[in-house]
Symmetry: D3
Subunit: 248 residues, 6 copies
């Protein structure tokens, strides 16, 4: 079955990552994934949350927000509503967990890397785009730590990228755009490392329950998509494989 935009079920939308898009951040990446555009920066702060003080370990913390007109209809800013957006909080917790999984926090030392993901334009898959681009920003921030002699060895130890898959009109599809996502029966977000192991899997059926079999089908499609994203990340980072990053 042809999809809205002509893709076949296992196709990703075109993805480009512009590395170093921000001149101040220690690492940054602007991802354009179809019509979803997310600006990600990685900022080094020389302190850690209360619960880690004195531990010798670092932290990676993520924040996620959408610009008011990143969406079809303008949405009010969080500060105007007076409270954080619950969906955004859920997403930024996912991004934070995913990137912490890529880092050996004891190698990072007592400092925090703040990941800021701001959605400039949203057409589905903003959380997976944010994770995928933030990994690039995070590597550059860690390289900056290395080249400034702040850490002795590369804190990044795994490569992470993320993609969505779902069931729309009974068919399993990779990388849902907004219109597909809106009508999806099941939605699944997968975060995976370079060796095919999982960092996080979230499968949700709001309009329909899903069987183990269709869940496996979604995971299979996701596996294919993430391998392509891993390759793109390496290319953007200018390395042939992950070991070149780790070796620095």
């Amino acid at each position: 079955m042809a999809r809205i935009d002509g893709r076949s079920s296992g196709d990703l939308r075109p993805v480009r990552i512009e590395r170093g898009c921000n001149r101040y951040a220690e690492g940054s990446a602007l991802i354009r994934w179809g019509n979803t555009h997310v600006l990600c920066t990685a900022s080094v702060e020389e302190k850690v949350p209360q619960f880690l003080r004195g531990s010798g370990r670092g932290w990676v913390s993520a924040e996620y927000a959408m610009l008011p007109r990143s969406t079809h209809q303008r949405t009010q800013r969080e500060i105007s509503r007076g409270k954080p957006n619950a969906r955004g909080q859920e997403i930024q917790r996912l991004i934070g967990r995913s990137l912490r999984a890529s880092v050996d926090l004891s190698l990072l030392g007592e400092r925090t890397i703040w990941i800021d993901c701001d959605v400039l334009q949203a057409d589905g898959g903003t959380r997976t785009a944010a994770i995928t681009a933030s990994f690039v920003a995070l590597v550059d921030a860690c390289r900056w730590l290395m080249s400034n002699g702040l850490v002795g060895s590369m804190p990044v130890v795994h490569q992470v990228a993320a993609v969505s898959a779902g069931i729309v009109a009974g068919e399993v599809m990779l990388d849902l755009c907004y219109e597909e996502d809106s009508s999806a029966q099941v939605d699944c977000n997968v975060v995976m490392a370079e060796d095919g192991r999982f960092v996080e899997i979230q499968g949700t059926g709001e309009d329909a329950l899903f069987s183990m079999e269709s869940f496996r089908d979604m995971l299979s499609l996701a596996d294919v998509g993430i391998r392509r994203l891993h390759a793109l990340q390496l290319e953007v980072l200018g390395v042939g494989d992950l070991h070149e990053i780790l070796a620095r």
Copy 2:
């Protein structure tokens, strides 16, 4: 390997549900799951969120909070901190999605059922306890709607319950208590319906990545645990099987 509390890897902690614990709510249930105690109420409100007005459809919305001393160390109230707790927001969104999956919202009519889950004492697994007990409260609230002639047929169409599984010290285990959860390498929450299909699956590896194989092992343990919880829910609700609920 023996667990902290002597359970084997596939054992649930003892679970009791006290139905109708609140004299005002249309439905209520206090669940005592090991040392985790959660008070759940289901309240009927005769209006729906803005986006559903005029749609003829209803809504199920969940709120989750922990009493300050439900935890080992006292935690500050959200209102004292001045902002919602992000973890709590993530959990209440999960509870809301899970219970909406059990209801045919068009049968509910333009009204909201508010699910309030307040953790009196926390020893791991509060979100799965909340979902499992809230289902009982939700059924009673829907029965109340039926017996008051507010709905024509039973809005509950699926039975949902939830359990956690995880990998601790390399071993896959069902239903982690707090101490196990704190040292878990991987943590998985599964929400499942009466027919074995999934409502939601969340697998997270913060301290370790996880393979497809160990993920399947966790899902298998969860499957066993949830079947027991489904049986307990039916017993507490005083029915032999789900059809007795649907038939009312």
Copy 3:
């Protein structure tokens, strides 16, 4: 005149206190006073508010909240409304003052005992129930301080309990339930120590003014009620009289 629930004017509703209901708190008590259920915990924190630092004196601070469906109609959580509930603030200040009166703050040392009172179900008299049960929790927290060698002598020096009285349909009554309270012309809350002296008296006439004579009648009824509550507290604490507590 017979009351709604058949009590005579000077009767208390049945009161039960379940001591040690929370496994983490240094002291805890769940009070079931008629249909009013309040869960009270006493938590020790090893610091004091700014204004007491360096003074060698401690503090007792209370917080009070109602679960959303503790009431006939569901009420919104404070964090959802975005601001503290003014009535709750007034009540928690009363609870704090009342319990501070029972403690010699200089014996407590520079630490705070947090009293958390969460109303699970409300049928009138929640503030007096909270004070009465919190005293039990507070004694246990102070015993914990004693047995852990953190204080040299028992900081609790007075026993406090509280009850309401009011005028309903022209008649003076003890311990108003919600329905009586709603139609009361005058409402009075009395907090009293073991020797019959007062900690706090609040008399309020919203729908009617009240004379000195009827005020005295309310105080007399309150006196009788509080003596019974004092006896119950001692029984729950497993002592014959207050001196056994002080002696520890």
Copy 4:
């Protein structure tokens, strides 16, 4: 025993009320009570809170705040701290109850009178000063309603004023200034109507318990003080007795 400022135990500080101090408010009064200065306005709003809509009854609502430098040390504004001041909330609830007791809300019609009490300078007794001056502002606002034909008969039906009494160094005293209040063992606020009946009595012993006997002594002193304040209010309002107000 001579007091700090030379008064005897039953003396009020000098009290002056400047009526009509604000050119926009329907009623206003600036009270200078010793060094305590409070600006009170009464504003008519042609709507009522939700719970009164359609009832035909009105409401009186009070707000109380202190200017940052009304106190010896500058205090932060509520909006800068991000949350309401709990003491202020307790006080404004007292002011609101007291003034509602002076009004027949069904004569007011479905409108609200907002009482704003802003403390310009604080030297003890701000809440009693606020109540005493707000009554003057409230009468003028009700006269404005009368003269504009918005109400058919005078909504004010009782005259209310308030004063504090306390026990300082073992001695019962009327109208505590800040320095006395800071060292008081017992503090009592009394709101009384023209016929000697009470609107509200609040007695608090933070540093000491108090007996019925000393409580009566405080009430006796308060009675004397309030009668003088009643006379002052009438004088400021330009009437010989309360009936002249009611008659308009």
Copy 5:
């Protein structure tokens, strides 16, 4: 053309400044400028904002608020709305900048002078009244620092005052009252030092654009007005000219 209140275009409204109106503040002034009344206090705090710690320099920070009934219609308090008023924030930033320009912050030492401007009654020109009176309060606070030996030389080095000018019905006018301000096509606020140089100029045309020529006309009127205000400030401060202040 005669103005609403009979003034000619270059006339100020009558201005009076009551110095020392607050008994606690290190400096204070109540300005009555026509029907605009603003109470200004200057409070010394022995610490500075984070960015100045260790710099040896001080700070001047201003806060501005309106009492709820300072306006024709009652306005809600900021704390009730839950967020700061944007117009107030803009104004308090202007006041802060203006007064910092009058002080040599390195002479002040590491302390903050808080300027609190509370509008008791508003009839246009509240920000210029606040600046003009706050300068008086600020001088007194600095004199207090001098006389208490906290600073070695007078931190105030410039005299600042402010006035508005505008174009109403095509005519340039000095010192707009509220009614004029509401119908002004152009509004201009000017803050000027004793030597005729500017601290701040803000010209705004919401309903009309304005030419360089009319802008100059407004500045000329403002120049005249501010010279009169400078003279009034000196008179209130009890000095013949600015050097007498600086010399202390």
Copy 6:
């Protein structure tokens, strides 16, 4: 004197405007002005603020925010700090006033155009960049209203653009970058229409007072800069002069 980046005193930095950068907004423009990058969208909402309901007139409202890492050091989000940033509030009020001056609000009808200005990267002059680009977005939003038949004639009636000037090390300069701005003695923002008349002028001397003469010099430089910006706006909008816009 050569400037940091080699410009002469009257030079603008290179400015590019990417029109239509957002696929959902009715109008949008991304301005890159030196290293300052601001994303501006104009969104049509079919309602107006309360005070305009029933007036037949429309409104233009602006919001301004900086991404956390738009600055040299990461700054906390407003929602994390829990309150709006005061500087941002001042700026968004300026943007709003400036753009309202370009529109005939009665031609707009009862609808609001929301201008969202989000700073992606800040190197000085963000407010003037925001105004200049927002005008482009606003014109496109009004063209959209025209082409959809929602308004009968073009609501935009003036062209507005803005630039800063300042005095750095005694020299008057156009268009300060961040490093210049940080050391500026005087800073001036000018908003001007196509006919050379002013919309808004703000001159501020925090570290130095400024004379009328140097103020005029700043306005002269600003005049030159804005004319270039006006030309750029027309070019980006694809018109030869403003009348082509008005004619549509």
